[in-house]
Amino acid sequence: SQQGEEDPQALSIQEGENATMNCSYKTSINNLQWYRQNSGRGLVHLILIRSNEREKHSGRLRVTLDTSKKSSSLLITASRAADTASYFCKSNTGNQFYFGTGTSLTVIP
């Protein structure tokens, strides 16, 4: 029951550049979360944005939410090699939730 799609599937940037990844979902949501998965590890929660919020910041992370377009974006500013990971969005509706297909980010030192 996958309903989230992310793009790009893969992104490769130089250290210090900004990375933007996008998530689209299909139904109305209560909130949307972003997770990071380092190679060989489990997912780690990064940030949650509620349906009545448009933008949220946490350190070098900036998340936006456009409920009219059913989309969200995650911006990582001043990227570091340690940001190399896969990033997943998780859209939440009542007790239902859906993970996106993930974006694989490579930050080249």
């Binding site: 029951s1 996958q2 209560n30 590890r41 489990g42 997912l43 997943f88 939730f97 993930g102 694989s104």
Partner: protein, 113 residues
Amino acid sequence: DTAVSQTPKYLVTQMGNDKSIKCEQNLGHDTMYWYKQDSKKFLKIMFSYNNKELIINETVPNRFSPKSPDKAHLNLHINSLELGDSAVYFCASSLYPGTDEQFFGPGTRLTVL
């Protein structure tokens, strides 16, 4: 002080065998999950238990059977293993079902030969 732990981390077995993966969380959460992640990193929810009661049971073969002896443990038993079962299996937990932040275990890489 591991929050969500899984054993074993790696599991290599022959087709047709039966195997179990164990999961434990010490966060005091009521809800636990099993996910399957394939080689393309697609994450598929398999089961979820809330306070020992099954609340999510996605379309998976009935060779897969979860068991929750108490709300801190959710084990996954797989009968008659097939090649297509090879994947990484993740356990996760959350305070409440669905919309809450989920905490993931380190994963169990299952290889069926």
